[in-house]
């Protein structure tokens, strides 16, 4: 299995799916001549040509709408919105058209489209460019929401996304693009949606994250083990919708404690959903309230120290765990 960075694994997934299925095509802002703002699509224009790798105007709503229309007509578009911060502008198309057409048409029309976007803070991009809003998309029935945390997952999940008959919101944490890992080169390597991954087994507490936050969780687990002798299980959700809550519940029934780690603002965020579901389904197993370690409820400041303070850190996770014992 070759080792590669997540951005390269994503590119491989796009390439392989374009080679496999000629109805797959890519469109988005600066995915062609520029090579993709995070270099994910680099080289694909040269390989596949302008017809299948389309640079678009800066018109988020328009290009997602075009993707929907193309998908309705039997193509399998991937629309790259550059970052989640710009996806607000396309939210109506995603929520009111892509997510609902199958239902409103009584199953006559479906929208097999992949919408990719980068997310996350930590690069001092300030308030408008540092959103982590995976949970926002997960709220809408009709969508699927995928948030990979490793190169292999990124590849397997993205390939799987192209084989889904629905709109898949595929969200990549900018901090993960450079991560390295072994990635299968089997062209049929797929990871099914709704299968959480137990990254690390443990017996004292369950740490739940996805995308960027599993890495804080994992580092926290190491610190807990080394410094406190606490054994933490780390679960990577991989997809938020469908959500594999069963794996989380099984873990909590074993550990009796859970901490959700999420970059997004805590108030009204997806961590609340996870916390509520764990309580609903594992109430009698809980030795302490489920804790949430999330982003602070402020617009993201540019200054490095302030940004650092606004984001959840492994120390915050450790602290939350220690408070449970």
């Amino acid at each position: 299995m070759p080792e590669m960075r997540m951005r390269d694994a994503l590119r491989e997934a796009l390439r392989e799916e374009m080679l496999r299925d000629e109805t797959v095509f890519l469109m988005g802002e600066d995915i062609g001549a520029y090579g993709g703002s995070y270099a994910v699509t680099k080289g694909l224009l040269e390989e596949f040509g302008e017809e299948r790798v389309k640079d678009t105007p800066i018109a988020e709503s328009g290009i997602v709408g075009v993707g929907i229309g193309a998908a309705m007509a039997g193509l399998r578009p991937m629309v790259e919105l550059m970052t989640i911060n710009f996806s607000f502008l396309a939210l109506d198309q995603i929520v009111n058209s892509a997510a609902k057409l199958y239902h409103m048409s009584n199953g006559q029309i479906n929208v097999p489209m992949v919408v990719r976007m980068a997310s996350g803070g930590g690069s001092q991009l300030a308030a408008t460019h540092s959103h982590s809003l995976e949970g926002l998309y997960a709220h809408f029935p009709g969508l699927k929401v995928v948030c990979p945390s490793s190169p292999a997952d990124a590849k397997g999940l993205l390939k799987r996304a192209f084989r889904d008959d629905n709109t898949v919101i595929f969200i990549e944490h900018t901090a993960n693009y450079g991560l390295k890992g072994d990635v299968p080169d089997d062209p049929d390597f797929l990871i099914e949606f709704g299968q959480a991954n137990v990254l690390r087994e443990g017996s004292d507490v369950t740490l739940v994250g996805y995308s960027g936050s599993v890495h804080q969780a994992t580092r926290a687990a190491v610190m807990l083990q080394e410094q406190e002798g606490i054994s933490a299980e780390v679960i990577d959700l991989r997809t938020l919708r469908p959500l594999d809550i069963d794996t989380v519940i099984r873990s909590v029934q074993k550990t009796n404690r859970a901490v959700i780690v999420e970059d997004d603002w805590k108030f009204g965020g997806f961590a609340g959903e996870l916390s509520a579901q764990i309580m609903e389904r594992a109430f009698d197993w809980l030795d302490a309230p489920v804790a949430r370690v999330c982003g602070k409820d402020v617009p993201m400041p540019y200054n490095r120290n302030l940004e650092f303070a606004a984001l959840p850190s492994e120390e915050d996770v450790v602290e939350a765990v220690l408070a449970m014992f």
Binding site: F25, E51, K54, T56, P57, A59, S61, G62, I63, V64, G65, V66, G67, I68, G69, A70, A71, M72, A73, G74, L75, P77, D92, Q93, N96, S97, L101, Y102, H103, M104, S105, N106, G107, Q108, I109, N110, P141, G142, K144, D165, N166
Partner: protein, 336 residues
């Protein structure tokens, strides 16, 4: 249960012949009566939600849709009954949809604003103003990429012109040379706001600025609509890119059934009623000796039967079972 697009078998002639004009008259009358009766069904509580009647605008749907071929696609806004019927959607299943019943074209899930019949390329009524314009461009892009020679007719109102997506869609359509006819039904109002108050310019001036042909046509004259839209469709079919048609028309009823119509005077409605598309075509055919009183009566009766049958059909159709609530949220392998 698949329907047949209307007139699918006829070659499109630049000028409609008498048979076709008689058919236009029939269709316009069918839509007129369908809408009048639908309004009554709303009052009776059989049709619910938002109901936007098409009365007055019949010449637009009938003239424009008659230019299409079976492989073509239609997307339109929430005021969609007229286009659906003109495309050949089964009136029974349209009425059943308005009643929210299982045999409705959208299985009772869509309602008045969301008629879909993929079997005749009728890809929906859309209730978010201007949201379907980019979809039409996507359909056009797919026609190009798949080398399928279909044209997409995209119908919307004057009110859509103020939305950002109007702009994004027109720009993309021209940039990517997509076979899309943008068909703007300018009935002078978007709800209660007149288009002069909501647009700083003329619709066609703006459309033309994107680098596509843009014409304005009398939308109360079915032949004129047919003629100009046919040019547009042929332009698209020839691979020359999008085309914009503005049809100047008028709705006789309020915006929706809830509209108190405070913003316009009865006089104005009367003025437009005098230019009624049905009356005019009827008069023309009678003057030309192609229709007499009995012929008109026959049309009226045929229409009555179709409309009354649709109501009976809708009434007889069951509600979708509650246990189907979670159906059609996502499409999974193995789904029907």
């Amino acid at each position: 249960m698949t329907a047949t697009p209307r007139l699918a078998r006829k070659a499109r002639e630049a000028e409609p012949d008498i048979d076709q004009l008689l058919d236009f008259l029939y269709q316009m009358q069918l839509i007129r009566r369908f809408e009048e009766r639908t309004g009554e069904m709303y009052t009776k509580g059989k049709v619910r939600g938002f109901l936007h009647l098409y009365t007055g605008q019949e010449a637009c749907a009938v003239g424009a849709l008659a230019t299409l071929q079976p492989q073509d696609k239609v997307v339109t806004h929430y005021r969609d009954h007229g286009h659906a019927i003109a495309r050949g959607m089964d009136p029974n299943r349209v009425m059943a949809e308005l009643f929210g019943r299982q045999d409705g074209v959208s299985g009772g899930r869509g309602g008045s604003m969301h008629l879909y019949d993929a079997s005749i390329g009728f890809l929906g009524g859309y209730a978010i103003v201007a949201a379907h314009l980019p979809l039409a461009v996507g359909l056009g892009l797919a026609a190009n990429m798949k080398k399928e020679n279909f044209v997409t007719l995209c119908v919307f109102g004057d009110g859509s012109v103020g939305e950002g997506e109007f702009h994004e869609a027109l720009n993309l359509a021209v940039l990517w040379n997509t076979p899309v006819v943008f068909f703007c039904e300018n009935n002078l109002y978007g709800m209660g706001v007149s288009f002069q108050e909501s647009l700083s310019t003329q619709v066609t001036t703006l459309a033309a600025a994107y680098n596509m042909p843009a014409v304005s046509v009398d939308g109360m004259d079915v032949t004129a609509v047919y003629r100009e839209t046919l040019k547009a469709v042929e332009h698209c079919r020839a691979g020359k890119g999008p085309y914009f048609v503005e049809a100047m028309t008028y709705r006789y009823r309020g915006h929706s059934m809830a509209d108190p119509e405070l913003y316009r005077l009865k006089d104005e409605v009367e003025k437009y009623r005098k230019r009624d598309a049905i009356d005019r075509l009827k008069a023309r055919l009678m003057e030309g000796g192609h229709l007499d009183g009995a012929g008109w009566e026959a049309i009226v009766e045929r229409v009555e039967k179709v409309v009354e049958d649709s109501i009976a059909f809708a009434d007889a159709s069951p509600n979708p079972p509650i246990d189907t609530l979670f159906r059609y949220v996502t499409k999974e392998p193995g789904d029907a």
